[in-house]
Symmetry: none
Subunit: 216 residues, 4 copies
DNA sequence: TATGAATGAGATTTCATTCAT
DNA sequence: TATGAATGAAATCTCATTCAT
């Protein structure tokens, strides 16, 4: 009785948070791998250290868990975007940096790409319904707007383009390579994961975007 | 009474084919709407005049039906691509035409876009497994290669680019707008379906591709 | 018009009988392989030259077909039994001959063995219901009775045994080897199909039966 | 109220095991009665207090359940065989005991006989696939080998016979009476279940085996 | 006589979720 | 807070049989 009483509330809370994160990490993989409908609560349960009941305890339902995954995953990229320090670079360098970041993030996070695809199959219903996600102010638009402004002021960019549209173009080029890797790769006999292909594509996209913004 | 008597013996066969096509059309919508896992055979059955049993009679399984849909849908775009007559146009006009076709096709066939997304969530497993689909050699690559060659010969294109890579860029820009419509539209408060937006994007993509291929 | 008009009714009938036999042969294999419940009408249909409809046309139902198979199969062994000519042999030789015939028939007709097993799983319901089968007078009992009588008269057999019981013993020993081949063979690591095993068993059974009937 | 309060925590686990056993017992009857293909999961469910869902919860599939039944049933006879204490008997008494045990077990457990027949219709596929069943080393072979050895040493047995072959003969004679009860009984107008018949057969088999092993 | 299409009924199996302790 | 057992509802799929011509 005198020795090692169970530590009080704080550790409990830590354990709880750890459990939550454990579930979330496994769920992310499952949802990314199989989609919302295709993922199995049982499969997630089988891979976590606690029991299936905890999923419902912490997240209420399969959809609740999916939403939490979505929030975590979008939070991740938004957080990283904010760490970009582009003001010290020239407009062209900053734009290259932006493209490189976007390219690398998609390349390195195929789960993110897949989850966004999944969410679009569901018409973005969960994203629309999540206050947290709707309020995610995307610093990337501000960053791009600043770059465009500075480039124009410097006489280097002549294209009249909206920052959101530019972001869409960059995203499209970086996203598709990963999202459509399997169909495109199969139909055109390309190994979309090969390093040489990746590097070539990165250069192409950088050039295309820079050339486009520069205008003529 | 005198007009349109039921056709004689062949009617049976026509009915069978009609039934098949009927199922296929409904299935396409369901799979596009809910994905492979999310689609319900019952829901498809409920929308056709025959019974659920017929689905299995004609397609063997839910996956067999999905595969048939995929084959039909890919066959559709490949068929249209072959009708493009670009040889009479200048290289620049031909490239514009190519972009316009690709843009319009994605814009007008969101089901195609969604089905391709769905297939990628499944790692392109069905596409890989279908001999019919693997043998679909895309005339679009030949067309693009010809355009690039002619443009270079005419001194109008300076970019050294592979036709497949160029096709990927065009596709990416046209696909993403539709595939990621919901998440992108929500996060950046854009109505991706608005005619004005559509026209602006079409111009942007045309310019970006033309500029890129021209090189500098 | 003058040349080769389709031959009239007789050929029709021959074709019909041929079709019937064709179906029957395939059905026998299917029922022997999978049992009554396990056999698939579709599988049988897929293997016959005519269509599935013919099965129902000729046999009425799956059960009707099964019954026809059963009748054919029992008719086969009963017919052969009647060709045995044992009267010219000594009682002991005749008994040996009887055992050899029974042994060989089971060994060479595993389908018969399997069908009888299947029918027993169904409590012999079809056999009981078939007038044709109930009326199959088994000459084997008469043959055995005669052998026993002659052997006793000759002072060679001392055992007081009923011909039906003797037939059961012979059948049991010959049937089990084939019917339980898979479980027995697996549990006791014996290859029940090996020629050496077969020959040894045949000798054993002959000896056991002869010894038993001789009495002591 | 005062008596038999529900047991505390372990009750859950006991209930689970009870549920499992309950399903197993009913399934045994169903599979014995209708075979693997003919048995209906619904029918099994209808006879137990819990729902059909539980069958899948505990056994995974219809085949899984069938396998569990098979393992239980084979375990049953093997377990009993091990309780035979034959060493204190004379070789001849021990052999009689062995035959009697085998005879009685088959007579009293027609479900076992039917299940073995069913499994043979399926080519022993499940037995072969079950590690548990493949590892059931049958003490009966050792017992028989010992009896044979002792009998020979005592100059009472002169037959050179393999214990496995001897086991096959005993099993065949005991198994067939039960397995082929319906067809044999019908074809030869014998009530195979009648006590008088049973006793006569038991004596016959005992004599036949003893006489065979004794040799002459 | 022959046939391809069709089908109702019911089979097995799956799944997210909740209960009892 | 935690857990193993349980479950209703619905999903996919199968099968012997019949229809329309």
């Amino acid at each position: 009785m005198p020795d090692s009483p169970p530590p009080a509330t704080p550790s409990r809370k830590l354990d709880a948070e750890k459990t939550r994160q454990n579930i979330l990490a496994v769920a992310r993989q499952e949802f990314a791998e199989h989609g919302l409908s295709g993922a199995r609560v049982d499969a997630i349960a089988a891979r976590i250290s606690t029991t299936k009941r905890m999923i419902y305890y912490y997240f209420g339902s399969k959809e609740g868990l999916y939403l939490a995954v979505l929030e975590q995953v979008y939070g991740g990229i938004r957080g990283l975007e904010m760490t970009l320090d582009l003001d010290r670079l020239t407009p062209i360098e900053a734009l290259h940096q932006m493209v490189d970041f976007t390219f690398d993030y998609h390349e390195e996070n195929p789960d993110f790409v897949r989850l966004v695809s999944v969410e679009n199959i569901h018409h973005g219903a969960h994203l629309k319904q999540s206050e947290k996600l709707r309020n995610l102010n995307s610093s990337v638009i501000v960053s791009l707007a600043t770059i465009l402004e500075r480039g124009k002021a410097a006489g280097q960019f002549h294209r009249d383009i909206d920052a959101v549209d530019l972001h869409m173009m960059i995203s499209a080029l970086c996203f598709y390579r990963v999202s459509n890797r399997h169909t495109f790769g199969t139909l055109f006999a390309r190994d979309m994961g090969a390093p040489a292909v990746r590097d070539r594509h990165k250069g192409m996209i950088r050039d295309a975007i820079a050339g486009f913004v520069a205008g003529n």
